[in-house]
Symmetry: C2
Subunit: 334 residues, 2 copies
C-alpha cells in the first residue's frame, strides 16, 4: 500500500519507475547552476528577489505566487515532432493489425508507410482522425497506463535519447528555484491534459491537478460494477493561443505572476500574465542551439516562434538564448 | 501591495473583508469538537487514523490524500434556495430598470413579482435564461467582484443570517482536521465555478484552483489594451451527478480517497471515490434538524436526498444525522 493503492492511480508513486529526470537540489545561495552568468539569469533572480523580499514595494504574498509553464519546447524538446505525435504514430502502428482498412485509408496509410509529413498534410482533420483512433474508446486509466508504459522507453529518433531524458536541466532548476521561493507551479500546454499527466509528476514534480491542457469529452460509466471514465473522440478544449488564458481561468481561477513559453501559441498567456511588469515576469525560450538541441524559430512547423519574437521585443519579455544562456541543455541520461 | 496586487485578483487577501467564518484551530488530540461523540465521529477519526498511521496496512501516502466536498447543503445551507439562486434573483431586480421588457417577459416577470416558484416552473430553460441575463456579458473579474460585494452582506431570508455565517461549523472543523492530516481539500459542486471562487478561500480555506464547478463559455479578449476573459452565455459543463466524476478527472486528474456530499447529485462522486472501502471514506449529510437548520430529504426540490439514502445503505456510506451528530450547526455570527 505504500507503493500502489488498488483502484487509485497517479501520485501514489505509481510512476515511480519514471523517476528519471530527478528534480535538482541546489544551494540556496547558488540557484540556477546550469544557467550562465548572463543578463537572462540575472533578470530571473532579480525578479524573484524583488517580489519575495519582505518590505519590498513589489512584495507578493506567497499565496499569490503562481507560475505557469508551457511544456513542449519550454520544458522539453519538441523537435522533430511533438512527443505526443510520436505516441500517436506508435499507437497507429501497434493497432494497425486490427484495422486492415488503414492500409489504404488516409491519414493512416501514410503513417504506416512512414510518411509523417504526408499524413500531417491533411491538417487539423487528419490530426483529429489520428487522435480519435488512438486516444479515445478506452478508460482514462487504461490510456494513462499506456502512455506511462510507452514513455518509459520511447526515444527521440534524431537524438537517440529517451524523451524523458530530454527535459531541460536549466528549466528543472528554475522550477526548483521557484518552489524554494514558495511559488506554486502549473503546466499550461496545448498537449493533451491526460497525456501529460502520465509523466509530469516524475519528470517535473508537477502534480496531475496542476496540469492544464487540451481535453476531449469524458463520460462516467459503471462497467461490470467498476466506475470508470471513458475517453470519447470529441475535442472539447484546445489549450493553445487564446485558449491558454481561458485554460488558466478555468483551472486556476486567478492570474499567474510568472509565465514561460517558447512559441506563438504562448503569446496570449504572456499578455494575460504580464500586465504590470513591476510584479510579473514573462519569458520565451528561443531555440538557438542547433548543436546541443535544435535551432528553429520563425519558419518551424512545430513550435513556431515568429510573432512571439516581435511581441517579446515590444513587451519587454525576456528571451532565453539557449546557446548562450544555458551551460547544459539536458540532464545526464539515466 | 501586501493587500491587493493591481491587475491580479483572488487569494491576495483581496477578499480579506470576508474573513468571517474563520477556519477553526483545535488541539491535535481533540479534533472535531462540534461533533458529538457518536459512531459518526468515531468512524471519521478511525478512518483518518487508519490511513495516516505509518506501517498500517491501509496507510496512504500524503501525496494521495485527496478529499472532495460538495458545497451546497454539505458545507453551507441550501434552503430555501441555493445561495447562487438568491444572487441571480437579486441581480435580476438590480438590472430590471435597464430591461423594461422583463416586466412582462418570463421568467423575469415572475422574479420581479417575487414569485420565485413561478419563475422556476419554467424548468431548465427558465434557469438558463435567468443565468445568462445575470452571469454573462461581463469579464470574469467584474463578475467575481460583484459576487464578492454581494455576499459580504447578503442574508438568508428565513434565518435572517448572512449566507457566509451559514457554513457548518462541524464541517469547517473536518476540513481543518483533514488538512492537519496532510489532505488536499477540493470542492466539487454543481454551483458555478467562478461564483464559488468568490468566497471559498475566506469561507473554507479552499483556493480558487481547488474549486471544481459548473462552467460557462469563456473568451479571451484584449479590450482597450487590457487582456480580459469574457463570460459568454453558453453552459459548457454541468458538474452534477455523472458530471462530478468527470469534473474530478478533468480538474484533479486522479481519484480522491475521501468524498462528502448531501444529495442525489453526489451519488456518482461517492461511487467513483469509494471502490475500495478499506482505504476510502464516503459520507452524506442528512438534513434532519428542522430546528437549528432545515429538515428535508426525499421530497425536496433543492438538494433532494432520495436515491442517495438507499445508495448509502447499500454501499455502507456514512450518513451524518445533523440533529444527533452535531452539537453546533453554524459558527458564531460575526
Amino acid at each position: 500500500m505504500t507503493i500502489r493503492l488498488s483502484g487509485l492511480r497517479r501520485g501514489i508513486a505509481g510512476a515511480a519507475f519514471l523517476l528519471a529526470a530527478s528534480i535538482p537540489a541546489f544551494a540556496a545561495d547558488a540557484p540556477l547552476p546550469s544557467w550562465n552568468a548572463t543578463p537572462t539569469r540575472d533578470a530571473i533572480i532579480a525578479y524573484v528577489t524583488r517580489i519575495t523580499t519582505p518590505g519590498s514595494p513589489q512584495f507578493v504574498d506567497p499565496g499569490a505566487r503562481l507560475a505557469v509553464f508551457d511544456n513542449d519546447g519550454t520544458l522539453w524538446s519538441e523537435q522533430p515532432l511533438y512527443v505526443q505525435l510520436f505516441y500517436v504514430i506508435d499507437r497507429v502502428k501497434e493497432l494497425a493489425p486490427l484495422h486492415p482498412e488503414w492500409q489504404t485509408q488516409e491519414p493512416f496509410a501514410s503513417v504506416l508507410k512512414g510518411d509523417i509529413k504526408g499524413a500531417l498534410s491533411g491538417g487539423y482533420d487528419a490530426l483529429m482522425a489520428l487522435s480519435a483512433a488512438t486516444q479515445s474508446g478506452m478508460t482514462t486509466t487504461a490510456y494513462i497506463d499506456g502512455v506511462e508504459n510507452w514513455i518509459a522507453t520511447a526515444k527521440n529518433p534524431v537524438k537517440d535519447r529517451r524523451f524523458l531524458d530530454m527535459t531541460y536541466q536549466p528549466m528543472l532548476e528554475l522550477l526548483a528555484y521557484l518552489r524554494a521561493n514558495e511559488f506554486k507551479v502549473f503546466i499550461v500546454s496545448g498537449g493533451g491534459m491526460d497525456f501529460m499527466r502520465a509523466f509530469t509528476e516524475p519528470a517535473y514534480g508537477v502534480e496531475p491537478e496542476n496540469v492544464v491542457g487540451s481535453t476531449g469529452a469524458l463520460k462516467f460509466q459503471i462497467v461490470d460494477g467498476d466506475p470508470v471514465i471513458m475517453k470519447e473522440p470529441a475535442v472539447t478544449f484546445v489549450d493553445d493561443g487564446p485558449g491558454k488564458p481561458v485554460g488558466i481561468e478555468t483551472h486556476i481561477g486567478r492570474k499567474p505572476i510568472f509565465a514561460f513559453g517558447n512559441s506563438d501559441g504562448d503569446i496570449q498567456m504572456l499578455q494575460y500574465t504580464c500586465v504590470d511588469p513591476s510584479v510579473t515576469f514573462c519569458a520565451l525560450v528561443h531555440h538557438t542551439d542547433g548543436v546541443r538541441e535544435f535551432a528553429y524559430d520563425r519558419n518551424s512547423s512545430m513550435g513556431r516562434l515568429d510573432k512571439g519574437l516581435d511581441a517579446a521585443a515590444a513587451n519587454g519579455w525576456t528571451l532565453v538564448d539557449m546557446a548562450k544562456d544555458w551551460s547544459v541543455v539536458y540532464p545526464p541520461a539515466k
